[in-house]
């Protein structure tokens, strides 16, 4: 799966009609959907380095609320995505932060060891 750079995320926001807001010393993009849903993402990640597939899926699902196909479509056409945009990337199987924190700070496990664990098994 091709993943995006942070520059492409910002380009998407501009083409998808997000507003750049500089507020309380923190710049971020905001888009308000017709149903009142507020989408926000920050823009401090300038860079041409692509992100991992998991991180890209999280950004699409959690912040941009857009399917992968529509994300690239917006970049290609320059026109905002129709919403709701489906399918959003599926939820990733994450580990509860309290479990990861306990494994690391209480039991001394490394990030690599925690990353290799099955989230459900780690919690059990």
């Amino acid at each position: 799966m091709r993943t995006a750079t942070w520059q492409e995320i910002e380009e998407f926001c501009r083409k998808d009609g997000w507003l750049l807001i500089r507020s309380t010393g923190h710049s971020f993009y905001r888009k308000v959907l017709p149903d009142g849903t507020v989408l926000e993402t920050h823009v401090s990640f300038a860079g041409q380095k692509t992100m991992s597939a998991g991180r890209f899926a999280l950004v699409l699902r959690t912040q941009l609320k857009v399917s992968q196909e529509d994300f690239w479509g917006v970049l290609r056409t320059g026109r905002p995505a129709a919403r709701p945009s489906v399918p959003l990337p599926p939820a990733l199987s994450g580990m509860p932060a309290w479990v990861a924190g306990a494994l690391k700070y209480q039991f001394g496990r490394s990030d690599e060891e925690i990353a290799a664990m099955d989230p459900a098994a780690a919690e059990a």
Binding site: S23, T24, H26, F28, V32, D35, G36, T37, V38, L39, E40, T41, H42, F45, M51, S52, A53, G54, R55, L58, V59, R61, T62, Q63, A91, L92, G94, M95, P96, A97, W98, V99, A100, G101, A102, L103, K104, Y105, Q106, F107, D111, I114, A115, A122, E123, A124
Partner: protein, 167 residues
């Protein structure tokens, strides 16, 4: 606001004239006070911040950690907040910085957010704002009620993260 609210209430003009006494009763006697004006059509509640923070403890941040290709992401999906890093510490610190920035803009423009799907974020963000900066990382690692960790035991000694002015 009904006149039968079972809270000590005071009219705005009286509260203004006796603000020192009102504050003393709220802070020292931990007595919530309702201040009303326009015949009770408008009201505000005065309450000690510590008591409010205690009341908000059930508003737990449901953070998750996702590992992918050597990257660590801390996700607070309900708030649309993501924290990025190579390690858990970096991702937690970034998520906390994002959450603080969100709380700052939320309380700077509460009237806007109150009309959106984010209106319900208020108690969680208020809990964050009322928590000392050095204890805020622990909010992201807070286990559900009755859980002490993967094999029980005391709460982990979590690293502190830098505070954001005004958070």
């Amino acid at each position: 606001m009904s006149a039968t609210v079972p809270l000590p209430a005071i009219d705005f003009s009286d509260a203004k004239a006796h603000l020192s006494d009102v504050m003393a009763s709220v802070v020292h006697q931990r007595q919530p006070r309702l201040v009303r004006r326009h015949r009770g059509k408008e009201a505000m509640l005065l309450v000690p911040p510590d008591d409010l923070a205690r009341a908000l403890r059930t508003f737990r941040f449901d953070a998750s950690v996702i590992h992918s290709e050597g990257e660590t992401t801390v996700a607070l999906e309900q708030f649309g907040v993501l924290g990025f890093g190579k390690t858990l510490e970096e991702a937690l610190a970034d998520a906390l910085e994002e959450l603080r920035a969100y709380a700052q803009r939320y309380f700077a423009d509460t009237a806007f957010y109150a009309k959106t799907d984010r209106a319900g974020h208020w108690p969680w963000l208020l809990r964050l704002a009322l928590t000392p900066p050095e204890q805020q990382t622990a909010l992201l690692l807070d286990p559900p009620d009755g859980s002490d960790g993967p094999t029980g035991g005391s709460a982990p000694d979590v690293p502190n993260t830098p505070s954001v002015p005004g958070a």
